[in-house]
Amino acid sequence: MRTVFKTSYDADIDYFRHGMHAFWYLALLLIMIVLPFLMSPFAIGEVTNVLIWSIAGMGIMLLVGQTGQASLGHAAFLAVGCYANVLLQNAGLPFILSFPLAGVIAGLAGVALAIPTTRLHGIYLAIATLAVSILADDLIVVAEPLTGGINGLLAPTIEIFGLPFDRYGTPGRFYWLVLLVTVLVVLAYRNIQRSPLGRSFAAVRDSEISAQAMGVNIARTKAVAFGLSTAITGLAGALMGHFAGIFNNETFTIIISIQLLLMIVIGGLGSIHGAFFGAIIVALLPQTISTLRDGLGDILGTTIRVPGMESAAFGAILILFILFEPMGIYGRWIKIRTYFQLFPFYRKDMFRRQKSYLKTERMR
């Protein structure tokens, strides 16, 4: 087991706890950077998709995992980001401006939603945000002159300083763009976690009453959490639009909202890793299922068609996680890591939750 000797307060503030910690993450980044030279364009497209879902996952994680506010409406903010970006691009703005602006617009939309809804808790907040998701779907259809309605919109090619970034034409370059955004969002997320802002989010999540007694303005903190969360989700939406090439109201349905929420539960609530693990499952599951199905079909000599297979598999995975690993994939990963770090002193009950004490004084 490693013992880290801390000699300055910076040791608690820095991104990495020790040299090896930094080494592995930089190694991972390096591999991710050279990936387009090692993989087929199709595989790179899949990885790009995983990264886009990860960004969206970090967006909703900030709200649900960090601040403890449920949301079933995040597909609406994917849509806001996506449409805002493409409409701004069509209006003649370069991507380098339209993309951050799309994030800002999605963030403002989130704050606008937060102001009336943050007085709600738990299931009521979930229902209110669910309504937003349904409304967004309808609004896209109604606002046809702007959004193209059910016919949808085409995402124009991204051009940055004359260089084209296209999902099909230049998959490697598009991948690097998405990777850059992913890294920037991860850094921003880490900065939030290690600053007073992130701590006030966690305070609101764990005990609103004592957060208030510590001087945290609950309503404002929730609004900021909503804003940052939906801004990141908006950025993911903008990339998703470009990845899909063409999109309409059905690209961002309520199903996507639910998938986003389930994704971070499977990945592990409250951590950046959780968003990535969840994204890997969600983005790769359809491919895995169809590959398995085709393989099985070849063996049996027939074509297997099971409608709704994807949803069923997804639901089964979710139920298994909630039953056997409520801390998600990341929680399981920590347990395995601790097992080897402490070998042979790992105890099975090390991560068992303590029974919490009576909360008779709750005033909500």
Binding site: Y9, I192, L197, R199, S200, A202, D206, A213, Y357
Partner: protein, 262 residues
């Protein structure tokens, strides 16, 4: 000199129940002031009134010349009032260090955007918070628990962490809601020493609710006894303990038939 905290005829009703009934008292700067009384006397309610969780029906609460009733709950810490909770309200899924750092929220000067970018100013600020929290850790001997999650800590340590979080606020007035409840004799003695040090070394005024009369008489300068939301007696611990009304509230009066038997 005007008192640090003053209650003037404060009344709070929950429907038909009068939880606090025309209570008046004042806490002087630099003293340890204890609230005692049987269960349901309104002691914790007084704390929740100061924290602005409850809105009084009548009366005034003045802190350092400020009308507290004109401030929302999240302003109270900024004014310099810190508190602990009877049933421990820590941030469970965070480490001891993070919990204490939330106590520094009052001293936050950076804006949200500079924290997202983590500018050099934000880092400098973070170091300052970290240093202030380290002083609290040293004071309460919490070194062994810095990186531990609250969810896995024993009850006694949680009590201390909560006191530490309140101290990290660097308050002028510290409200301790039953700091010794559920603690062993040794731990209660530690609390007594800490309260002494908080008063003498840090110059913080302490208002405390406590049932352990040994602790109360050991550390407090003045005691206010409450029962059914009404003031019973105010004075030194010795005076209050021997006040006939206080004895009546705790033990009851002997009625005529019992007197004959005695």
């Amino acid at each position: 000199m005007s008192p640090l905290l003053e209650f003037r005829d404060v009344t709070l009703r929950f429907g038909g129940v009068v939880a606090v009934n025309k209570v008046s008292f004042s806490v002087e700067e630099g003293e340890v002031f204890a609230l005692v009384g049987p269960n349901g006397a309104g002691k914790s309610t007084v704390f929740n009134l100061i924290s602005r969780f409850y809105e009084p029906a009548e009366g005034e609460i003045i802190f350092a010349g400020e009308d507290l009733l004109r401030h929302p709950p999240h302003d109270i810490a900024r004014l310099g009032i810190a508190r602990t909770f009877q049933n421990i309200e820590l941030f469970e899924q965070a480490t001891v260090l993070q919990n204490l750092l939330v106590g520094r929220h009052r001293h936050r000067k950076t804006r949200a955007w500079s924290e997202v970018l983590f500018t050099p100013a934000a880092r400098e600020e973070e170091r300052r918070h970290r240093e202030a929290v380290e002083k609290v850790i040293d004071f309460l001997d919490l070194q062994a628990y810095r990186e531990k999650y609250i969810a896995g800590l024993p009850y006694g340590v949680r009590k201390v962490v909560e006191m530490g979080r309140a101290l990290a606020i660097e308050p002028r007035l510290l409200l301790l809601d039953e700091p010794a409840s559920g603690l062993s004799v040794e731990e209660t003695q530690d609390v007594a020493f800490w309260v002494e040090d908080i008063k003498k070394q840090m110059g913080v005024t302490v208002l405390m609710v406590e049932h352990d009369m040994h602790l109360v008489s050991a550390v407090s300068d003045r005691v206010l006894a409450l029962a059914d939301g009404k003031t019973l007696a105010l004075g030194t611990p010795h005076e209050v303990q021997n006040h006939p009304k206080v004895i009546e509230a705790y033990i009851g009066v002997a009625d005529e038939s019992e007197k004959v038997l005695a």
